[in-house]
Every structure is written in C-alpha cells, then in structure tokens.
C-alpha cells in the first residue's frame, strides 16, 4: 500500500483567523470605547497606513529579497493621482480615487520590469535611480503635482476621523494578504527566488513573472497607501511624497521589525511612527542620526530586527519550541 501523501498545512489556522478577526474588531471599536483624543486617533490612523506600506514593501524586500530604495515613486504617484481625482469638479468619491491611484501606481511599477532581472545591490541601486528620476520629473510636472508648491485638498475634519476605519480596513486586508502570500505556493516560489533565482528557474518557477506580479501588487498597495495619506494630510508636495527619505522609511520600518516576517513590519511601522513623532517633537536635531545608529545596531547584532530579539528573549525563558513555531509563522 502506498503511503498517503502528507496533507498540506492549512493556509490559516482557525485559531489564528479568530484572533486576527478579534484584534481587528477591537481596533475598530477602540475609538468608541476609549474616547481617544483627536491627536491619538490620527496618530493611530497614520500607523495603520504605515503598517500597510511597510508590509507591501516587505512582499518585495522580504519575500522576494529585492530591497527597493524607490517605493516612494509609487507612494507619490498614488497620492497625486488620488488627490487630482478628488480635486475634479465634481470630486470623485475618495475610495474610488484611492483605488485608481493604486492602479496607476501598479501600472507604473510594471514599468520597473527591466530592473527586476538585476539582483541584490544592483537592483537596489537601480531603484534609487528610478525613484530619484521620478521625484525630479514629477516635481517638474507642475500641471499635475503643483511643482514645489503644495497641492492642497479641501480639509474635512469628519472625513479625516473616518479615515481611521479606512486605514484599519486597508491594514487588515494587507495583513491577511501577507499571510496568504506567505503560506501559499506563491510564497514558497518567492522564497525559492530569494534563495537562488537560477535554481528556482530550473525547478520550474517563472521568476520573471512572479517578481513582476509581486512588484506590481506591492506598488499598487503602496499607491493606495499614498492616496489615503494624501487625504490624511490634505497638503501634499512632490518633494516629500516622492522623496528619498520616504523610500528609506519603508526600508527602515521593515528592517527595524524584521525583514521577511509579517509580525516584523507591523511592529517596525508602529515603532517607526511613534519614534518619529517623539523625535521630531523633542529631538529634531538627532532624528536622522538615531535612525542611522538603529540601522547599524540592527544589522550588526540582530539582523531579524525586533522579531529576532523577541524570539531570542522567548528562548531565554525556556519556551524554545513555541518561539521557533512562532518564528516559522512570522
């Protein structure tokens, strides 16, 4: 008798799905229960947006292992397309504008196709070039982006409050998508590409197609995030939206939390937003350098970032098995 093939593991454990739904529901109810101040409320909204962006960046930087230093191009494009649509007469509804912005960013990301055959540092350098070129071109294109003066959207306080739930929804979808990608065949194929493109190709993985696919998905989500961000801030400026610092922000959030994990970028984005808020308020003159030091320490001592640190701490307290299991989920 032939042995039965082992059952593939379930895509998502029921318990995980339940915990996830409960967490999202709790976050959705939080503003009603906790009576957050507008400041805290908006800060949490911003965190949702950044978590979404960081996770989408991580699909490319973590799963495929292609570290992009140019994601601001998609962020900015999504933001400006959405803003332009909302400024039309009559204005298009915000959710539609965000979606179209994301679509535009996705199409734009497809334009990066030629760079995807580059690996490692070459890809990273090419994305720096693309990102900076996009920044210059869009800053120059005044009819679209308003040039170096800002593009302002009508300020609507209620809409900004409502953005909390839109942001939460986006984040929930992106987290779920990260899980599905990671646990599905697609995730395994991406891991194979990350480990060795040539070997993956020999094993029948269409590396070109999957890299394009993930880059477009990642770009589209970052574009949608950009659109929500435009609504959030009301004033957007190409040099900020397309800026190199923004691209670096996506990299930093994932690196701080732990590249390639799901838990990592979420945690990294939270730490990033809070740290940024705190530093800009209290020590604006140390802001850059502290991020630099953080990067140096993480790369030298804990390449898996805060996730790695958490695993290490868990192991120290003798729960090695569960920690290892968590690591494989993450």
């Amino acid at each position: 008798m032939r042995p039965r093939p082992p059952r593939p593991p379930a895509l998502v454990q029921p318990r995980t799905a339940l915990a996830f739904t409960a967490a999202v529901a709790a976050l959705a109810a939080a503003p009603f229960v906790l009576r957050l101040s507008p400041y805290t409320h908006n800060l949490v909204t911003l965190t949702f947006l950044m978590v979404s962006g960081a996770l989408a960046w991580n699909w490319m930087g973590g799963y495929v292992g292609q570290v992009s230093f140019g994601h601001a191009a998609m962020f900015g494009l999504g933001g400006f397309v959405a803003a332009r649509l909302m400024l039309l007469e009559p204005p298009s509804p915000a959710p539609l504008a965000w979606l179209v912005g994301g679509l535009a960013a996705g199409v734009f990301a497809l334009g990066a196709h030629p760079t995807l055959r580059l690996r490692g540092p070459y890809f990273s350098i090419a994305t720096i070039g693309l990102g900076e070129a996009a920044r210059l071109v869009f800053t120059y294109w005044e009819n679209f982006t308003g040039g170096s003066s800002v593009l302002s959207l009508p300020i609507d306080v209620d809409a900004k409050i409502r953005l909390y739930w839109w942001g939460l929804g986006l984040m929930a979808i992106v987290i779920a998508a990260s899980f599905v990608i990671r646990r599905s065949t697609l995730g395994l194929q991406l891991l194979a590409i990350k480990a060795d493109v040539d070997a993956a190709g020999d094993a029948g993985v269409n590396a070109t197609f999957y890299q394009d696919l993930v880059f477009v998905l990642s770009g589209a989500v970052v574009g949608i995030t950009g659109g929500l961000y435009a609504s959030y801030f009301s004033f957007i400026e190409p040099n900020d939206m397309f800026g190199f610092d923004r691209s670096i922000g996506f990299v930093l959030m994932s690196v701080i939390g732990g590249v390639g994990t799901i838990f990592g970028p979420v945690l990294g984005a939270i730490v990033f937003v809070l740290l940024r808020q705190f530093l800009l308020a209290s020590y604006p003159q140390l802001y850059l350098g502290l991020y630099g030091l953080l990067l140096i320490f993480i790369i030298l001592f804990e390449p898996l970032g805060l996730s790695g640190l958490a695993i290490r701490v868990a192991r120290r307290f003798g729960r090695g098995h569960r920690a290892a299991a968590k690591a494989s989920i993450a």
């Binding site: 292992g65 570290v67 030629p114 760079t115 055959r117 580059l118 690996r119 490692g120 540092p121 070459y122 990273s124 350098i125 090419a126 720096i128 070039g129 693309l130 900076e132 070129a133 210059l136 071109v137 800053t139 120059y140 190199f244 670096i248 990299v251 690196v255 590249v259 003159q285 140390l286 802001y287 850059l288 350098g289 502290l290 991020y291 630099g292 030091l293 953080l294 990067l295 140096i296 790369i299 030298l300 390449p303």
Partner: protein
C-alpha cells in the same frame, strides 16, 4: 560654434571631478564586493573638512588636501574595522552592507547638521572668481585646478595599483582572497587599507567639490549616484576606463542643458544609471577587476 567649445570645455572640467568621486566607490566595490553607500557622506565630510580648515586656520583648500586625505583615510579604516568587517561576504552580505553603510551615512549627515547647521556653505578664496581665457572662452581657475588634481590623482592611483607591492596585493585580493591567504598576503590588512584609500578618494572629491559648489549636510547623494553611473559605465578594467566613463557622463549632462529644462538635467544621470544597469545585468563593474 563658440557655444559648442564652451560646452565641451565644461564637460571636460566636470569629468575630472566625476572620475575622482568614482574611484573610491569603484575601488571598494572591486576589492571588497561592498557597495559603499556611505560614500556620499564621506564626500560631504571632505567638503566640510576643507571648509573648516579654511575658515578656522585660513588654510588654502588646495593645501588642506593632505589633511583631508589623512582624516578620511582614518575614517575609512575605522568604518571597516568597526563595522564592515563583521558583515557576511558576498551575495548574502549585499542588502546588509547597503543598509549598514546607509546607517553610517545618516549618522555622518546628522553629525554635520549638529556641528555646522543645515545652511549652505561654500569655500571662498581670493581667486574663486578668477578666470583665464582658453580657446576663446573663460574658464574658472578653480575648475582648472580641480581637473589638474584629478589627472594627477588618476596617474598616482594607476601607479599605485600597477607598480607597487601594495597595489599588486590589492589586485590579487580582488581576484581571489583565499589564494592570497595561502601565499601569505594579509587579506584583512589589504581590506582595511583599500577601504581607507577608497574613503580618502571620496574625501578628496569632497574638498575639490567644495571649491566649486556650495554644500550642506545633505550634499553627497547626487554625487553618490553619479559615482555609480561612472563606475557602472566604465567598469573597473582600468583607471583609464573610469576616466572615459566620467567624461561620457559629463558630456551627457552638459549637453542635456541644450534640450531639457535645467531642473531636469539631474534626472538624466539617474536615467542613464538605470539604462546602463539594465543593459549590462551580468556584471555591474565588468568582468576584470583592476586588471
């Protein structure tokens, strides 16, 4: 016609600076296989060092070059011994070394903000505005001096790599570090020295830039990308190749002014970078290294 001569002259003058910037990046990549993202930061540090020496001690920026070279060499040695040495080598270390050295750049930038504020600075000397007529157009003395120093640097670098024991050892380590260990070359020492020389070249480029351009702590990012373009374009076949590549970049940039609005000319370099990378995916820096 006179305009054409003007443009060609300014391309050539710019090319010298571009080549000097690129040598450091190329040398470090060629030997250690590490893309030094802190390169722009070291260029910025070199510029500020020249400025401080000029302002505090009245030292002429060209006379301060030995000091700048010594200090940035030391900076490179410290960066290597303290940080880069601990990274995994080869493909695995790629993203890690990029991020690590980017962190170093952020720290350098922040230090410059703290020390010198974010204002634009420039080194002004008595001869800053002087120009001499060449082929019917006036050329700034500073730019001529920068070109001359760049040429001398190229020749010295070529001689160092080709004619000295150290240069031979550097080229050997670039080819095969394991074999070098077998025949008694101290590979770690060569790595340290190479990182030092690469940083010193970046510092030199910085102090040369300072005599021509104004700068602030964010200075160096454009320079870093331009260095990439040159290194990618020229490969590391020879010091000569880098020089030619620098000239190509300078000509493209200068002539772009004719057809593009001035604001967009900076984008030309970035587009060129992506095009060259994509057209030569096999090896960023060519097959032979420093051969």
């Amino acid at each position: 016609m006179a305009r054409l001569v003007d443009l060609i002259l300014s391309s050539v003058l710019l090319a010298g600076l571009y080549a000097t910037m690129a040598y450091g990046l190329g040398l470090i990549y060629g030997v250690l296989r590490v893309v030094n993202l802190a390169h722009g930061g070291v260029i910025m540090a070199g510029a500020y060092l020249g400025w401080v020496l000029h302002k505090a001690f009245g030292l002429d920026p060209y006379l301060s070059i030995p000091v700048v070279i010594a200090v940035t060499f030391g900076l490179g040695v410290v960066m290597y011994r303290l940080l880069v040495r601990h990274l995994p080598r080869g493909a695995a270390g790629g993203p890690a070394s990029l991020l690590l050295l980017f962190g170093v750049w952020l720290v350098l930038r922040n230090a410059a903000y703290l020390l010198f504020s974010g204002n634009d600075q420039s080194v002004r000397t008595t001869y800053s505005t002087r120009a001499v007529p060449i082929l019917g157009s006036y050329v700034s003395v500073n730019r001529l001096a920068v070109l001359a120093i760049a040429l001398v640097t190229s020749v010295l670098l070529h001689l160092l790599l080709k004619r000295t024991y150290l240069g031979r050892a550097i080229r050997a380590v670039a080819q095969n570090p394991d074999s070098c260990t077998l025949v008694g070359v101290d590979v770690e020492r060569i790595y340290t020295i190479t990182f030092g020389i690469g940083s010193a070249l970046a510092g030199l480029a910085g102090v040369l830039s300072a005599t021509i351009f104004s700068f602030n702590p964010a200075f160096g990012s454009g320079e870093l990308l331009k260095s990439f373009v040159v290194v990618v374009l020229g490969g590391l076949g020879s010091v000569f190749g880098v020089g030619v590549a620098a000239l190509i970049l300078a000509v493209v940039e200068v002539f772009a002014i004719l057809i593009l609005p001035s604001y967009l000319t900076a984008a030309v370099g970035f587009v060129l970078l992506v095009l060259v990378l994509v057209a030569r995916p096999g090896g960023l820096f060519g097959q032979r290294v420093l051969g």
